[in-house]
Amino acid sequence: MAKKSVRQAINEALASEMRRDPRVVIMGEDIAGGMGAPGEDDAWGGPLGVTKGLLGEFGRDRVLDTPITESAFIGAAAGAAATGLRPVAELMFVDFMGVCFDQIYNQAAKFRYMFGGKAVTPLVVRTMYGAGLRAASQHSQCLYPMFTHIPGLKVVIPSSAYEAKGLLIQAIRDDDPVVFFEHKAMYDEEEEVPDEAYTIPFGEANITREGDDVTVVAFGRMVQFANQAADKLAKEGITCTVIDPRTTSPLDEDTILEEVAATGRLVVVDEASPRCNMATDISALVAQRAFSALKAPVRMVTPPHTPVPFAADLEDLYIPGPAQIEQAIREVAA
């Protein structure tokens, strides 16, 4: 199997679904680029090159560049989804949700319920999240807890290239609105990815490490950091089960509860701001349904309750890393 980057994996997922189903269209700002300009077409292929080449195969009717009008085109994607297309809209940075959130959370997310089960809205919003690129406060947030909060949305956070391809194909074939989070610091990370299409079901966690002492639940980019911490501690005889839930909505509660029941210790790692995030959500789940299994207080590893800073030294302090995860595991294992 060939090694592929997250960028390539996502590109392949889009291409394979566009080949398979003519109703799949993609749209976003400069997802091709060069509209009306004198130079090359497909000049950008997305701000970080993720959609490069799709214009050549599918043409301007299915690879739609948009003006900088998120409210209009994300809303149009929702409207198109409810009426027969299967749009994949790119919200360049999730931080821009502020410009268009109404169309996602009051419109797309609620159609089915409000219309008494009559609407089907197979919308995918692909969006970049996360800190690490010195992109400062308005281009570095996670925000997936805010989408997870909304009934009617499904929320996907792939942790690697293999995961990204299978989960994105699943998202496009899914009949509900899905928000698909891509960590901007992970696009160049590679692993073996099959050429053919495959799906990874939502709501089924992946166990990336198995161990007896501590259960670690981590999301997105934090999964690799949790694995690193687990591998290091395994050499000292502290073994961890690392769970990547893959989707925050639906959430695979059973796997988390089973593993916490087995180890009695839980560390939750979340790159999102610490209040009302996935770490608090999972801690609450375990407090309610596995309290008697707990041998130690739950530990949450998160950034501080601040916006994401610009300066490199501050941003490095802000982002949870393997060292903090290791420290938290040691504390609950002690």
């Binding site: 410009v99 406060s137 601040t306 490199a312 302090l317």
Partner: protein, 321 residues
Amino acid sequence: MQLSREDLLKAYRQMKTIRVFEERLHDEFATGDIPGFVHLYAGEEASGVGVCLNLNDNDYIASTHRGHGHCIAKGCDVSGMMHEIFGRADGLCGGKGGSMHIADLERGMMGANGIVGGGPPLICGAALTAKTLGTGGVAVAFVGDGGSNQGTTMESLNLAKVWNLPVIFVVEDNGYAEATSSSWAVAGDAVRRAAGYDIPAQQVDGHDFFAVNEVAREAVERARAGDGPSLLHVKLSRYYGHFEGDAMTYRDPDEVSKLRQDKDCLDLFQKRVNEAGLLEPAQFEEIDRDVATLIDDAVASARAAPVPSAQDLLTDVYVSY
């Protein structure tokens, strides 16, 4: 109204400062020592300076992601800006904001902005304050051709008109939003859009400092007189990529060199002033020397300045908590 010699010297000094600041940043970025996203204003100087020469510290501007030029034109400390862009503790925002968020409220600079279309609503607020408190101030929203399409910009035009706010919307149309041409992305045009809101509007050649300055003066006077908002559609050129690192394959390969040749706002300014015999060549040379020293010193001191400390991560989130 005739510009004074002092005005001309100030205008040249600011335009030159912006140019040298941006060209130096282009080089410094290439060393890898500047973090994050940097969007350069080189080529567009006559707009920011032409507009802001009509303003004082009592007036506000809201900028965009391409904000360095607006900051300098509004009087922000150049060295403090450089320190900020390098992420230093003594930068204008303590290293917390960076290029995309430089602000100095004391200078009436409400911030560069990472959100396209973020500025116009805020500037309606600044204008409301000026009107309510009777400060006599006006407020200017700079927005790109791309940003001119955002709902926030459209809504702000309407609000400024119905509240009769002292706002000047300056649409800086450099022909592109990222890799997309404004000729494709903007339906209709800015002047006719403004007309739909009954807002006086004018298109102006943004390479020509004098032209921008003149139409901006009229708009500012209208706002100060309580006669409501105006819009300027400023046609200009950006010399570098959308951000540092953009290969610009969507442009004609010789597009920028032609623009630099024929339309450079600094050249046009010098030519005009020389022909009218308003300033001596030595005066330009002196400013050029000052500016070179200013930017050299700013970079050297930024490079040597301390980075923020760990405690700084947790401060400035709230006034009290």
